[in-house]
Amino acid sequence: MEVILLKCGELVLKGLNRRRFEDRLMQTVRRNLKPLGKYKVSSSQSMIYVEPEADAPVDEAFKICEKVFGITAIQRAAVCEKDMESILRLSGDYLSETLAKPTTFKVQARRSDKQFPLTSPQISAEVGGYLHELFPHITPKMDDPEVTVTVEIREKHAYISGEKLPGAGGMPNGSAGRGMLLLSGGIDSPVAGYMMAKRGMDLCAVHFHSPPYTSQQAKEKVLSLAEKLSVYSGRIAVFVVPFTKVQTEIRDKCDENFSTILMRRLMMRVAQIIADRQECKALVTGESLGQVASQTLESIVVTDSVCDMPVFRPLIGMDKEEIVTISRKIDAYDTSILPYEDCCTIFTPKHPQTKPRIDRVEDQESRLDVETLLAEALENIEKIVI
């Protein structure tokens, strides 16, 4: 029988809150594994045990657990009866593949059952000796071995595991409040969402679309990106805001070179209003310093000035390459690069303002009936829960 062990991360440092974090973590694991089959999820001493029932699959469950935030390390373990004969036999069988290539190893033993006849060092020595005999090419090494075999004696069974793989890291879903992500169809915004979800933030998302300028496919692409994100963050409520009127008004009444910045200011205003209604305490965007005209320092300052709540820009200090690496990792890249026009590309000015001054921006903005535009946009929001 094989089980999965999940080592809890930072949350072990949270003192009195630890129980709550652990419970939330187990809840997420249970929820994510539910479509796969029946699993018993329990915890003890900052370790979560996932035991498949009946013929629930282990490989797929492992892949799902690799994406759960709040876990630093994850390993598979074989379970057997608590006697040395079973332990030795199982370790030889279970670890034959793991120990086939490496040349150095060590055995670490732990027992929570103090009645067990051997002490931890004795267990390590016996198992170590047995494995060395069975696999003579592999020698014991105490410092920095290639493989660390872990033998754990608990209340009812013994657990033997080989490889330990890194978990997703971060903090458990829902442990850090809720934020509103501005989700375009690009590479950056899904990555920004992932990074905040990693710190435990629940996410809502807002997307602006402008039919007939933007297509149905562009909208579906965004929903598809939200789906990829939800694998890591949990459920996301996506709010699709009709933005056509705003864009045509800006085009008709304002200087072309200010169009992008005016649009962004209105987007932030709308996002903030929806965020308030959804009890989100922060906005999240994929802005990175200097990537495009609207993301110069001056532009960000001007955009920020309409916000009353914090705006988290987790990508602000990252290079495009680094962002793309994460985008690929979360399986969003191929979707992000699908070439559908989104509202940011439709009316790009020839010479966009890269260092806009707030007084000139406000002057341009005064030509618009902002209140009415906001009200109209908010009236026709479409909510889709992913």
Binding site: P212, Y213, S215, P339, Y340, E341, T345, I346, K350
Partner: protein, 144 residues
């Protein structure tokens, strides 16, 4: 030996052969018809309310013309025309979905590349269709 192994696309080759045979029989007449149609379309565009550049050079194949309206983006035009039952393409044939490197190499400026449309004709097309296309383009141009 200058050879490489591979599996040729036999059905496609046979189909191409059949198509060539058919066209050879109707060939010369077709070229004339297409050229006339193309020229008519260009003329209608010149007199329409859509300021646009013709990217196709004189003496080019008679069945295609590539244009760049002064404003707008290919994808939006394509969809707007689609709604009226007119199907054209954007950019150039070799760059589906991406900005055409061919047009860019022709030193056409960025905005013209992004609004470019490629209209292909068959001998079965008629002048009234060219007129309908131009009218629809005028309507679509008003979006921008």
């Amino acid at each position: 030996m200058g050879m490489r192994s591979g599996t040729e696309a036999m059905p496609a080759i046979a189909a191409f052969g059949a198509a060539c045979k058919y066209r050879l029989q109707h060939g010369a007449g077709d070229v004339r018809t297409l050229a006339q149609l193309r020229d008519k379309t260009v003329q209608l565009l010149m007199y329409s309310s859509v300021p646009c550049k013709i990217n196709t050079a004189a003496g080019a194949s008679p069945h295609i013309v590539n244009i760049s309206p002064q404003k707008g983006r290919s994808e939006v035009y394509i969809r707007a025309l689609e709604e009226e039952g007119i199907y054209v393409s954007g950019g150039s044939a070799c760059s589906r979905g991406k900005r055409s490197h061919v047009l860019a190499a022709m030193k056409i400026d960025m905005r013209a590349v992004e609004s470019s449309l490629r209209i292909s004709f068959v001998p079965e097309n008629v002048e009234t269709q060219a007129e309908a296309f131009v009218k629809a383009l005028e309507r679509a141009y008003n979006l921008f």
